[in-house]
Amino acid sequence: MNGINLVLASLFILITILVTSLVSQPNRWKVLLVTGLLFYYWLIGDKIIIVLILSGITYVSGCMIHSGKNVVLLSVLLLLVPLLLLKISGAGDHFNNYQLKVDIASNNWGSLFQIIGLSYFTFNGISYLIDIKRRYISPEKNFFFLLLYLTYFPTIFSGPLHRANYLLGQFKNIEVNDHSISRGLRLILWALFKNLVIAQRIFALINRLQHSEIAGGYYLIIGLLFFLYLYCNFSSFIDFFQGVSLIFNIRLKHNFRNRVYFSASRQEFWRGWHTTLNQWFRDYFFFVLSRYDKKGKYLDVILLITFLLIALWHGFSTVMIVWGTLNGLWIVIEKKFEFEKWKYPRVRKVSGVIYHLSIAACLAIIFISPSASFLYNKVFVQAAELPSNFREQYLVSLLVISGSLVIMDYHYAKAKDMRFEDYLDTKRPILRWLIYAKLVIIILIFGLSTGIDNYYIQF
């Protein structure tokens, strides 16, 4: 499964809104827990038992750590085992399986742990335990309240990742009102536009280009498209569930900076891309290791290892190791040259965007290549060429994609640092409704998919 069925999601949201508004505020979190678990059960079936067992381990470990027992390492390892087994057993080439839109039900031993959202569940559990150890929080006394934090349905599929103290407080103030519904739905509409129109159309184009004769330098076009696709696909999925959560007045963390695709350096890019995951690796891995490097001699090496770890989270393969190493090296080199401090900020910004997009496109190609030899053959061995009838075959797709990207970027440029729902709040009602109408019309005419899809949902 690559995405969430919109009818199922709508049914679920409607039922949860209805039930939530019928019960008193102290009990509303229970409604979210029950409906969320039912929704999750529907998606993963009996494997929910594994999630419940892991939640139990987290709960007990949290209490033991708080009472002074030295079980942090053991508990973290216990939580990590299913995720590691899943990653090591591997389910093949993720990109190819994803492209085929097929669930590769595997017979191998790791298939038991093929659970949607396992990564995010594990990361949330680990951060909870380490935060208790660091005395940032006290363990949650109510197991079910902790269970809601660990399996909160808008975050379980692909994040954003949260710290317990950020979410647990909000669960006590669940409220459904006109304002929350309005803000939530507008974010959902924005997400549908980005996902069903832009991301799906880019993906269809990648699909066609990848299986055409395209080769040589032109192959970079696929990398650039995949870079844009990943942003639109992933950020829209997050927007969708941020919208769902906002309906219940629970504000999830921001995960992508507006216009992150126009970053002028790799450092700037990573500061705005999947920020909650990067912060997680920073706080629970990089900072932990760097404490042992008191003179700061090996910070670059630790940074490189952190990127390797992020790459291995994507998949245990040679291609991912290469991808992670190159990403890490890129950041290290940029830091050495202090690129962000160069003179002439305007020139640096424009040239930086071109420089970043070019290298990011190369890395994106590595990210989706089935093997290093395939990529080498495609780029360096085969003669450079565009597919026959390129303009005739792809012109309409390119026009629709470009037009939609311009609309998306226009709104993000206007929003500046504001979140999309806040930006729409600043508009007059008539303008807001015109934006809604524009998005609905574009979705109905140019939308390609029947569900909200996410490349990272099986991670």
């Binding site: 009818v7 529907w42 097929v102 590769i104 595997s106 009838n389 005419i445 029947t450």
Partner: protein, 309 residues
Amino acid sequence: MLRSAIKLIVFFFITASCIFILKKSGTKDNANVRITLPKAMDTSFFFIGSSRVQKGIDPLIITNGYDNVKVFNWGITSGTFLNNCIVADFAIKQPGQKVVFIELAPLVDVLPDGLFNFATHTRLDLFGSVLTLTANQSFSEQSMLMLKIINDYFYKCITVRNEVKHIIGHTAGVKVNDDYEKWIGFSPSNRNGHYTTRSFLTSQEINNCRLNSINLVKYQVMISYLEGLAKSNNSRVVFFLPITSMKQAEKNIVIPLYHTLPDSMKLEYSSQFLQQMADAEYLLDINHLNRKGATTYSTLLIPLLEKYR
């Protein structure tokens, strides 16, 4: 909450009205297709699959190869294994003696628009068929699939892409370069838009297939059901490999599946057959045959089909 409800009702009412008006003024995307069904005295060959079947199997050539055999090309654009099994379920239940040739494809829980059109035209019980074919699956899997079908159908109802195309000057169907695509049936194209042969199936790929860890149980349950149904309906089901594939991941599923089938239930291409087909001149694009390819493929199939008559 009341204010939100009113706003949402107004919003949905305006949107639904616009969709309704567009749907009424736009063309019906299935207007150019007429589906004929076999009669009780007929001997029929059905070819069921995706657009590859639509592009590659010329029913007229195969009909001319035999006496008294009716040939139906029921390839549906974007057809997947589930789609093929649903259509095969319907074909087997038709009167007369039948051989149903089914293209092997990955099991994807997406039903193409064409299948909804097919169900409307033929009054096929889509949900009943899906429930029967997935009888071994758990309640959650089955209900998810049903919701997915409802979701896909709902989306098909609200999308106005074809209507807008019609309004801005396209005629019925989806125009792809010089050809109009039909959602079902033989839909040839004269174009030759590809010049490598790497997408053609080879005998090495069939023979050197590695046994992988993919779980094929869901496929096998559907195949067993169709086999049983065929026996009780004076029919046979025969599966065949697509002659071209765009993605290696697809071959990694369908070739192992092909090897699990008994010889009586699979169409076997000889290496000479595959060599004769592997010609870039026969390709419309990487995944489909053009008219020249369809003529060769259909002609080469005639002696292979002889034993099923």
